[in-house]
């Protein structure tokens, strides 16, 4: 089963939930944690994995053979990202804009374009305390997170229970990271910001047809509108974590909640059981 942990709004506690859920299950399940927040990965701060291997993420970008090139301009015409321009006698490439689709090299009538790999990030694999751990890191200055996310997900073999830490937001990196999941936990906080971004996240999951439930973090501050919304929209609130200085202190030191306060293990175990029930029920009704 693949469970994603997402939020819309940043800083609501995604990594706290993903790491604590993974650690709570590791004794009874084979668990892999994928940190797909490749712009700002943080799960390793909590899990301190021993990295055993790493691989660069490479995007194939065009390399022009000036001898063969006739400056016909076909490549610039077909590139949807303006990553190639023909200016008089010069063909300029802008590798940072290239998505690596391969259109230019395939369509060049002179076969003057080959592709060369350009590194935009790295995927690292290892083990942490009985968990399989994989994360990706976008290179500083690079714009495109989705290729790194794709590679992180390809490295995971999807056996056992896979828990994915999703980046914040609702756009392409989130979609890339969350698609294929059996369930998505949406972590939020009881404030107008939390509610606004929860609604966006719920809409995203509905668009992708992924069932979701809410973990309400820092409960006790703010207002009751998140719970009212969940009730109205029939979204289960699966777990509530209170605003608590001890929880905040553990988080600030990079200590997983279930390690610093082991009494939380049962709650995360129950969270998993609730998700299993929802997913099983959904699979049964889809088969019918």
């Amino acid at each position: 089963m693949i469970i994603s942990v997402a939020s819309g709004k940043g800083g609501t506690g995604k990594t706290l939930v993903a790491t604590s859920l993974a650690l709570s299950l590791k004794d009874s399940h084979k668990v892999t944690l994928l940190d797909c927040d490749v712009e700002e990965p943080n799960a390793h701060v909590f899990l301190k994995p021993a990295i055993t291997s790493s691989e660069p993420v490479l995007i194939p970008v065009p390399k022009i053979d000036e001898e063969k090139c006739t400056r016909c301009g076909k490549c610039a015409e077909v590139c949807a990202y303006n990553a190639i321009a023909v200016l008089g006698e010069h063909v300029l490439t802008f590798p940072q804009l290239c998505h690596g689709c391969g259109a230019c090299s395939y369509l060049c009538p002179e076969k003057a374009i080959s592709e060369e790999p350009r590194e935009t990030g790295v995927v690292e694999m290892g083990q942490a305390d009985g968990l399989e751990f994989i994360h990706g890191k976008l290179t500083v200055g690079e714009a495109m997170a989705p290729p790194i996310i794709r590679r992180v997900k390809q490295q995971g073999n999807n056996e056992g229970t896979v828990i994915i830490d999703i980046p914040p937001g609702t756009s392409c990196p989130v979609v890339e990271a969350v698609k294929g999941s059996d369930f998505c936990i949406l972590v939020t906080e009881p404030t107008p910001f939390g509610l606004n971004d929860l609604i966006l996240a719920v809409e995203t999951m509905r668009e992708l047809d992924i069932p979701c439930g809410v973990v309400l973090n820092r409960a006790g501050v703010g207002d009751a509108k998140v719970e009212e919304y969940c009730l109205k929209e029939n979204i289960p609130v699966l777990l509530t974590i209170p605003l608590d200085t001890e929880i905040a202190r553990l988080y600030s030191k990079g200590i997983p909640l279930v390690e610093g306060m082991p009494q939380w293990k049962d709650s995360f175990g129950q969270l998993f059981e609730s998700i299993e029930e929802i997913v099983d029920e959904r699979n049964r009704s889809l088969k019918r």
Partner: protein, 283 residues
């Protein structure tokens, strides 16, 4: 004109609360919400919408089933696994148009994509440019660029001294789009190990693009040892720590009331944010 963009790397460190307060403190400014994925600034500034514009960006492939001969070439060549069983998954399609160029049956056309909306509004703090990216859409960076362009236009037309932008979390496409060419990045961090890790990455992005940065430590007293680490790091990097804002539930209360915290309370949070603005604006 000075363009200040508020970033953090890590989400939830307090960017929007601080921008809301700077909106109340600064004169002669236009506000821009560059977090087009999950915009929240409007919840504090209560905009009155003046102009709404569709944002068309990028394209999505469409296969005409009547023309398609099911030869499978498009599926073989698509590097984004966006075509399965001779149908395009619009969510996976990156709009590269490769398939439309190579289809022997000319069955594939590209359709323009409505990827969001951008807005110009009035607030009681001045004009606000904001946007909403469509659900699960791409091109957030281009929508951010559009928001900034409109904000700059307003600042020039009205001869305003500042553009204050609420930035997105992360370090990727929308962050780069928010940051490039700005006058100053205000980096809001928190004294957690994740906050420090993410600050280091977003500061590296600022360096990469040559944008000067100052740091604000929010909730500095939830872990003072970590706050000292941040100060030591900033000292080493030659980056000023312009403010240390204490943790106080008053910030959340102000969000619930939908007002900038500097207008809600006169406490230590507000006095630090005022100090921050004096430091940034040089007043």
């Amino acid at each position: 004109m000075k363009e200040i963009v508020v970033l953090s790397g890590k989400g939830g460190t307090g960017k929007t609360s601080i921008v809301g307060s700077l909106a109340a403190l600064a004169r002669d400014k236009v506000l821009a919400d560059c977090d087009v994925d999950a915009a929240d600034l409007h919840l504090l500034l209560k905009p009155r919408l003046k102009q709404e514009t569709e944002f068309w960006s990028g394209q999505v492939a469409h296969i005409d089933p009547d023309k398609c001969t099911e030869c499978g070439l498009c599926q073989d060549l698509c590097r984004f696994d966006a075509i399965k069983d001779f149908r395009v998954d619009p969510v996976s399609c990156e709009g590269c148009c490769f398939c439309s160029h190579i289809c022997p049956a000319e069955a594939i056309t590209m359709k323009e994509n409505l990827s969001g909306h951008w807005f110009i509004s009035d607030t009681r703090y001045g004009p606000l440019v904001h946007a909403r990216l469509g659900i699960a859409q791409e091109n957030s960076g281009k929508l951010v660029a559009q928001v900034r362009q409109q904000a700059r236009k307003i600042a020039q037309e009205r001869n305003l001294g500042y553009i204050i932008s609420d930035g997105p979390p992360g370090i990727g496409c929308p962050v780069i789009s928010s940051l490039s060419g700005a006058s100053l990045a205000l980096l809001v961090t928190e004294p957690t190990l994740s906050g420090i890790h993410d600050l280091e990455r977003v500061l590296s992005v600022c360096r990469h693009f040559g944008i000067p940065a100052v740091v604000c430590i929010n909730k500095y007293d939830i872990n003072e040892e970590n706050s000292r680490r941040i100060e030591g790091y900033c000292l080493k990097q030659g980056v000023e720590v312009a403010a240390r804002i204490p943790f106080d539930n008053i910030v959340t209360e102000a969000i619930v009331r939908g007002v900038p915290v500097v207008e809600y309370s006169d406490g230590r949070v507000s006095s630090e944010i005022k100090k921050l603005w004096r430091s940034i604006s040089g007043n």
